[in-house]
Amino acid sequence: MSTRPSDDESRHATAERIADFVSEQIGSSAPRSSGEREFVRRLATFRRDRRRRTRLAAGVTITATLVVAGWAGLSFRGDGPGPSVLSYRVDNQEPAAGGYILVPQTGESLLAFSDGSKVRLAARTRGRVVDVNTHGAKVALDDGTVSVDIVPRPRAQWIFEAGPFRINVHGTSFTAGWNPAEAVFEARLISGTISVASPVAGPEIHMRAGQSLRVSLRDQTVTMGTASARDGQSPTDDAVAAASREPPTAPAAPAESTRWSHRGWMATLADNKAAQVVADADRRGVAVVLERADSDDLWALANAARYAGRYVLARQALSAHRKRFASSERSREAAFLLGRLHEGDRRGPADALGWYERYLAEAHDGADVSDALGRKMTLLERLNRRSEALEVARDYLRRFPRGTYANAARALVRSSTATP
């Protein structure tokens, strides 16, 4: 040994002698030269095994993550809402599959949410609870009026979609209405704040308590004001009132001439002067117009009447167009519009369904095929023809998997598979 314990340590002579003896006896037990090769071989094996273990661990981790995420997702979508997910009842009863709500002509319906928020749907209102989560809910209003009273909560997120309009709510009371036939959206804010995303007004419209908003897609007008004596009257009421104002089909006025003189109503309508077109038609006599007007003017009259709430006249003009210009593209579109117009009348879904089917048969790839198919599915479900509705839903998902009615179609398919 080259060094020895220093003197200041407690030396033990016997221990030193033993150490020397053992060192001498054991000698140099240096590993054999083959150990080097063995070590390199073992190290290579070890590295390979470690890489395998790393890959295995990564695979197990990913699998476990997916399993946990899947489990969490299933729990979130489970039949019963979790403890923190809101629930709701419709008129104190379990909601229908898919969240559809159709309020009868007399009376109203009440959506009562578990956090105390309430949504009151006026008579004849159609809508759907699209989603319910921990922060609030998403409600789609197809037609009619809702009165909303949301209980303020931290991070509450309530969304109301009325046609192409979207209302973001953070705890407030308001009424909102959507009249698809007139393409009119109205909102009246009683308390709190809401913001309305509108396809007309560009950025979101922020409303304060006491304000009212009216947006007409046909006229491309946005009107903001303070809530007035009109409070309580819904857009649907307006539509009904407009329909009731429609005069009976006017007797044919004395014909100025048997030959139709082009009136240029398309241009007038493009200037948002729908009422002027209808008034001109009334002046000339509706029967004469329906019988003699050219395709452009007749089409313009049909649309002007729709915009003005003259639904009977609109139907007459569309029917006349289909009869007189049967092979035109407009006549095919007229079938779809007639379906929309019939959805709101007393005979209701049956007539509308017929027109949608006619449109789908005539216009295989028309611009409104997606809407017509979706409306057909909805009407079939309302008529309790579920198997047909299911068939249409599957067809819709196949052709328009990202369409407007895709979520409703999926809900329908899901409910059918869940039902034994």
Binding site: E16, I18, A19, G27, A30, F39
Partner: protein, 204 residues
């Protein structure tokens, strides 16, 4: 600690820091260089600490695999040899404890020492060596290792402390306790006492 000169690609011997960098870069020649540089010293310490009849080769392999696994934790690449020795001490501690448990459980990692593989000069020396390791087996692993490093490997107290990853005062305490216990047991064994007394008288 260097037993054999190894040369890198440049023709000169790699420093410890360069060898560490080569190992971390998965240089295929680096493991063999590490073995050549450190294995003899490690094997010698293992043999002295555990005595005859133990597969030193296998334990040395174990030490170097652990060195490879723990290499990312080595902060100062120049301290490679101390790092390897510290790893060897850990392996030794586990081995000594495993053997102790084996004896208690009568699994005989060796309840009685096996025949010596080394080349003792005579039967009496063989017998004495066996009795020495019986005494070593009675010591705690830490005191046994401290004794081996200090008295058999001639390390300073600081080096012992570094190898065992303890403070110098703790290392000193372990060394002294180990030496004292060994001396005390030898004194209580007439054969060993006479043998080492005779050895002491032969020394100048």
């Amino acid at each position: 600690m260097q037993e054999r000169d190894e040369r890198g690609a440049t023709g000169r011997a790699l420093t410890d820091a360069e060898l560490v960098r080569a190992l971390r870069a998965d240089d295929p020649a680096a493991p063999a260089l590490l073995w050549c540089r450190c294995a003899p010293a490690v094997g010698r310490v293992l043999a002295k600490a555990l005595g005859p009849g133990v597969d030193i080769e296998d334990l040395t392999q174990e030490v170097f695999l652990r060195v490879f696994v723990r290499l990312p934790s080595l902060r100062d690449p120049a301290a490679l040899r101390g790092f390897v020795l510290a790893v060897a001490m850990n392996v030794l501690k586990w081995e000594i404890r495993r053997r102790w448990v084996g004896r208690k459980m009568r699994l005989s990692v060796t309840g009685t020492l096996p025949d010596i593989e080394t080349t003792p000069v005579d039967t009496e020396a063989r017998h004495t060596l066996r009795r020495c390791y019986r005494i070593f087996d009675t010591l705690p692993a830490t005191e046994r290792l401290a004794f081996v490093l200090r008295y058999m490997e001639g390390m300073t107290i600081e080096e012992v402390a570094s190898a065992l990853s303890v403070s110098t005062s703790t290392a000193k305490r372990w060394v002294n306790r180990g030496a004292a216990k060994i001396a005390e047991q030898v004194a209580g064994d007439p054969d060993l006492r006479d043998y080492f007394a005779a050895v002491g008288e032969e020394q100048p």
